[in-house]
Each structure stands twice: as structure tokens, then as C-alpha cells.
């Protein structure tokens, strides 16, 4: 064990400041470079805003206190850890607030979301539901009919 006097420890601290500063500047410089490259490569609109636009019509059709079921391209009920379905559901919920969207095919209203913009025809909410409105972009509303 090497014991240093106060002066030597002060020098050690100052040396550490120089080392820390260099490492921090390298790290923050790299972060700034990577982040600004991400920014330059971004599209005209971020993906969340794009998805918000897909669900714009939902709040026009449904009342604010509506609770809506959800179906997707995958067979219902999709597994919890299916990232595609869970992502679509979460994006839809974020856009549709205060409407609540649940993973339940027995609701009066069903929101159908397909990753294929022309894939509405493949969505199958069940025999008692009919297509009410195609909101475009692979989003459609179904309603149970008597």
C-alpha cells in the first residue's frame, strides 16, 4: 500500500480531473455525433406521430367514454409477449385517449389494426361484428350488430 501526503493526493485528484474531462468529452462528443446523425436521418415525421394520424378518426366516431376491443393481424388473443401486437395496441391507446382500448373481442366496438395498410379484409372480429368504418392506413372500426 502506498501512502501519499496531502500534496501528492491533490496532484492525484487534479490528474483525475484531466482524465475524467478527456473521457467525458470523448463520451459526450460521441453522443452528440451519434444523436445528431439520428436526427438527420429521421423521416419528415416520427413514428409515433405517424401512428397518431392513423387513429385520428377514432375520437370523431366514438364517444370519449367508450371502451373498445382490439384485434390485429395475429389470431386473437395474441400472446402477451408478441411485440408487434403489443406495440400496435399501445400506440393505439396512446392516440385514442380518453377512449380505452382493451384486449377483448367481445366488446360492442372493436378496433382492428393491421400492419398492412390494405389488410382490413383479413381482420376477423367474429361473426357478430360488422365493419362500420375503414379509417385508412390499416385501421378499421367494427361494431356488433344484433
Amino acid at each position: 500500500m502506498v501512502h501519499l501526503d496531502n500534496q501528492a493526493q491533490s496532484k492525484l485528484t487534479r490528474a483525475a480531473v484531466i482524465v475524467f474531462a478527456i473521457l467525458a468529452l470523448l463520451s459526450t462528443g460521441r453522443q452528440a455525433f451519434v444523436a445528431s446523425r439520428l436526427y438527420r436521418q429521421r423521416g419528415p415525421v416520427d413514428i409515433i406521430t405517424l401512428n397518431e394520424r392513423r387513429f385520428l378518426g377514432l375520437r370523431d366516431v366514438l364517444p370519449p367514454d367508450a371502451v373498445v376491443g382490439f384485434i390485429s393481424d395475429k389470431p386473437y388473443p395474441a400472446p402477451f409477449d408478441d411485440p408487434v401486437v403489443y406495440t400496435d395496441l399501445t400506440w393505439a391507446q396512446y392516440a385514442a385517449v380518453p377512449i380505452i382500448i382493451v384486449r377483448d373481442p367481445e366488446q360492442e366496438w372493436i378496433l382492428g389494426v393491421s400492419r398492412d395498410p390494405d389488410g382490413i379484409a383479413a381482420l376477423s372480429p367474429g361473426p357478430s361484428h360488422r365493419l362500420i368504418e375503414d379509417l385508412g392506413g390499416g385501421v378499421a372500426l367494427f361494431r356488433r350488430v344484433p
Binding site: 492525484l12 475524467f20 473521457l23 468529452l25 445528431s36 367514454d65 380505452i100
Partner: protein, 488 residues
């Protein structure tokens, strides 16, 4: 929007100034107060907005006027208290200390460059994903939207039907974002981005200022470099998650407790502020309800471990008094508004015992911690949606601390036992939090590997600013007086 944020910050600054914190007057103290104002201002505004929504007007009518009135009242109260109170500790040396002069131009340039580059990174990340990342749109900003869009039916956002999105999570961020949106009459994305930026750089500011007061400019500078040089810290802040704000309150609480021990052990105002800060941690994330008992336990135990004077009942009462109002609001939210927590509700005793006695779960958790090591260092490429990792400071800083500890003069004594106790307090609080997190993983109803993979990094991030503070508090040379002298 900027007016409403400024109103909050002004309120935070005034209310904490009202406590006439007995620290030596210096620019370091002003710097600390400005940093703490962020947490205080946002905290008080979010408490007030929630209570106003719950009891006065769910549509928020009249709230901004109320807050402006609160600011005026706080200003008048402070002016009156200032006239009546004893003068602050006037330390001739510290009163004349200019932080900028003390740091010096070269170090100042380095700090400014690191801060500037971090700001560029933050803004670029935020502009690339202005809605934030997953938790921001699935939890925090989603909840804010419910508070704003639901009107009279504001409790809708806490329905059990939304269980996937954790409607039981506390409301510091959602309430503050909703408050700004209401006052701006627009759901501007700048609101959560601005809040995240304040907390990210506010955390750095608190670490810088507290260490500047307790130790000196070198340790203060090391803290800034270590935090800004942690890519995950900047990236996570820009993602608009609650983890960085939570880490802010952990650090603030511990810094205030250390400052109390060192500067004003006979006066308890810093303890009241520390208690309030701990309560704000519980209002930010559920982990705050673990932090409160952890910090209380660590605070009681640290004198025993460091051989300093034991805590008194009066001190404990002061800390509790600071925590109580915020804690009551959080408990009201938990008991009367929020549904049960998913981690707690899903467990029965038999399952709990089964999980605790399953050795594979312990191995899985150990694997999860070990996998964090692969995130240390400079990664080769960053891709959208993937963070850059921990950088190099989780290795470099402990090495520095170790080097300072082992190289201390053989017969040197820590001339300031209060600071030794402060470091022990911070280490112990962090260790207790870590133990709590491990227990939560053992008992989780979710697939353990998935839960570790999606949350462990963020839980460790809660503790990182505190660890930086503790390591630097403990690594200074014995007899180092810091920027100001103690209250004698």
C-alpha cells in the same frame, strides 16, 4: 408554456428559500438552491394540480390563478421571514467565493464543453423521438393525456382496464405535464421534453453544487464529468422516462442529509427539506415507497457505522414532518384513486414462498447483473431504440475512489466525521435500495428474464448519481474543507 414552467421554478425557489437554509452564503449555495428548485417547483406544482383536479375542478379552471396567488404568498412570507430571522452564516471567505473564479477558466471550459455536447445529444435524441420512448407514451404522457382529455371523468385514466399501462404509478410527471398542457391550451411535446431536460441537467447541478460545498471544486467537477459522460443517463433523460427525475430526488435527499450533518446539526430545516425530497421520490415512482424507509434506516444506522453522534428524536421528527404532507398526498392517490399495483396484487403467499426458495431465480438475477458489464465501455454503434450503455465511468470512478482511499496517509484521520458519516449514509441507502430491487425481482409475477431485461438498467440508473456523489464525498483528501466552513 415557458411561463408556466417558470412559475413552478420560481415557486420552488421561493419555498425552499423560506426555510432559510443555514448554509454558508456563497455562490455554491445559490447554485444548489437553483438545482433543488427544479424538483421542488415541479413537485409542488404537480401536488397542487392533482389536488385541484381531485377536489376543486377536474377541468383545471382557476388553477393557474391559484398558483400565481401561491407564488405571491410565498414571496410575501419569505420577505417577512427574512426581516425577522437571524442573518445567515456569514463566512467571510465563502461569501466572496465566486464559483466561476474558484473553478478557473480551463476547468470551466471543460465543464461547459461537456455540458454543451450533452445538451446537443439530448436535444437531438428528443427531436428524433419527440414523444419519448416506450414508457413515455405507454405510461407517463398517456396518463397526462387522460388528465387533460377526460375532463370531469378524470379518474378514467386510472381504470383497471388500463392495467397494461400501470395506472397505479404516481403522478409527479403526468400531473406536471398535464398542468403545462392546460395552461398552454395545447398538448405541446415541448412540455415533457423541457421537464426531462430540467431534471437531467438539474441532477448534474445538484451533484456539482453539493460536492462543491462539502468537498471542493475538483470533486464537483469530477461529478459533472462522470454523470455527463454516462451515455445512458443522457439518453434515458431524453426518452422522457421517470427514472432520471427519480434519481434527482434520491440524490437531493441524500445531499440535504449530508449538508445538515455537516453544517447545521443543531438546526433542522435541511432535514425538513430532505424529508420533503424523499416524499417527492415516492410521488415520482413506486420505488420511492421503498426509498423512504431505506433512507430512514440508513440515516439512523450511519452514525453507528461511522462512529459519529447518534440521531436524536427531534431530528427524526423534523425529517418525518418534511415527508408527511407529500406522503399523505401519495397515499391518498394510492388508496382512493389508483388501482392495486400489478406486482403486489398478483402474488399469493404460496407463490411468494415458492419464488423465494427457487435457486434458479437467484441465478437469473445474478446473470442479469453480470450482463450489465457488457454495457460498460464505449459501444461500437448506436441504433435507434438502443441506448449507448454505461460508458466508462462505472469503472473509472470506483478505481479513482479506491486509489484515493488506499493512498491516504497512514495516520490520517478524517477531520470531518460528518462527511464520513454522509458517505456511509449514501452507500447504505443505495445498498438498501438495491436489496429491495433484488427482492422485487425474486417476487415478480412477470417472466423474470423479461423483467430483468426491460428494467434492471433503469433501476441501476436510479442509484448512479447517488453513487457518484457518495464515491466522491468519500474520496477527498482528509482535512479537505470544501468550499465553506461548518457552522460552529
Amino acid at each position: 408554456m415557458f411561463f408556466s414552467i417558470a412559475l413552478s421554478l420560481a415557486l420552488g425557489f421561493l419555498l425552499q428559500s423560506f426555510f432559510r437554509v443555514r448554509l454558508p452564503a456563497s455562490q455554491w449555495r445559490l447554485s444548489l438552491q437553483l438545482g433543488l428548485s427544479i424538483g421542488w417547483g415541479v413537485g409542488i406544482s404537480s401536488y397542487a394540480f392533482f389536488l385541484w383536479t381531485a377536489f376543486i375542478s377536474p377541468t383545471g379552471r382557476g388553477f393557474l390563478l391559484f398558483e400565481a396567488g401561491l407564488l405571491l404568498a410565498a414571496g410575501i412570507a419569505l420577505a417577512v421571514a427574512t426581516r425577522r430571522a437571524r442573518p445567515p452564516i456569514e463566512d467571510q471567505d465563502s461569501a466572496s467565493i465566486s464559483v466561476l473564479n474558484e473553478i478557473g477558466p480551463i476547468l470551466l471550459l471543460g465543464l461547459a464543453a461537456a455540458a454543451g455536447l450533452s445538451a446537443v445529444a439530448f436535444v437531438s435524441y428528443a427531436a428524433h423521438q419527440p414523444h419519448g420512448e416506450w414508457d413515455a407514451w405507454a405510461i407517463w404522457n398517456q396518463r397526462a393525456r387522460f388528465l387533460v382529455r377526460s375532463g370531469e371523468d378524470w379518474r378514467r385514466g386510472f381504470s383497471v382496464l388500463l392495467a397494461d399501462y400501470h395506472p397505479d404509478y404516481p403522478l409527479l410527471l403526468p400531473a406536471m405535464v398535464a398542468r403545462i398542457w392546460r395552461s398552454a391550451d395545447s398538448e405541446t411535446l415541448l412540455a415533457p421534453i423541457a421537464l426531462s431536460m430540467l431534471f437531467t441537467f438539474g441532477t448534474v447541478s445538484v451533484a456539482f453544487s453539493a460536492l462543491g460545498i462539502l468537498r471542493g471544486r475538483w470533486e464537483a467537477a469530477l461529478a459533472v464529468f462522470a454523470l455527463l459522460g454516462t451515455p445512458f443517463f443522457i439518453y434515458q433523460g431524453a426518452w422522457q422516462y421517470a427514472d432520471v427525475p427519480f434519481s434527482f430526488f434520491l440524490l437531493s435527499t441524500l445531499a440535504l442529509l449530508c449538508l445538515h450533518d455537516h453544517f447545521s446539526p443543531r438546526h433542522h430545516r435541511l432535514l425538513i427539506l430532505a424529508g420533503a425530497s424523499a416524499a417527492l421520490a415516492a410521488w415520482t415512482k413506486n420505488e420511492g415507497l421503498l426509498f423512504l424507509p431505506a433512507v430512514a434506516l440508513a440515516w439512523c444506522a450511519s452514525p453507528w457505522l461511522s462512529g459519529t453522534k447518534r440521531r436524536s428524536l427531534r431530528e427524526a421528527i423534523s425529517f418525518a414532518a418534511g415527508a408527511l404532507p407529500g406522503l399523505l398526498i401519495t397515499l391518498y392517490f394510492k388508496l382512493e384513486v389508483a388501482p392495486p399495483n400489478d406486482l403486489i396484487a398478483a402474488q399469493g403467499l404460496a407463490v411468494t414462498i415458492e419464488h423465494l426458495s427457487d435457486p434458479s431465480r437467484y441465478l437469473e438475477i445474478a446473470r442479469g447483473f453480470l450482463s450489465q458489464a457488457s454495457l460498460i465501455g464505449f459501444s461500437s454503434e448506436a441504433t435507434p431504440g438502443r441506448f449507448d450503455g454505461w460508458g466508462i465511468f462505472p469503472v473509472v470512478l470506483p478505481v479513482y475512489w479506491l486509489a484515493m482511499r488506499v493512498s491516504r496517509p497512514a495516520r490520517a484521520q478524517e477531520s470531518d466525521q460528518a462527511k464520513a458519516s454522509g458517505a456511509v449514509l449514501a452507500f447504505l441507502a443505495a445498498a438498501l435500495m438495491l436489496a429491495g430491487y433484488i427482492l422485487a425481482y425474486l417476487l415478480t409475477p412477470y417472466p423474470l428474464a423479461w423483467h430483468l431485461d426491460t428494467s434492471l438498467s433503469r433501476l441501476l440508473l436510479h442509484l448512479w448519481p447517488t453513487l457518484v456523489f457518495a464515491l466522491l464525498l468519500d474520496s477527498a483528501r482528509p482535512g479537505e474543507a470544501g468550499a465553506s466552513r461548518a457552522d460552529s
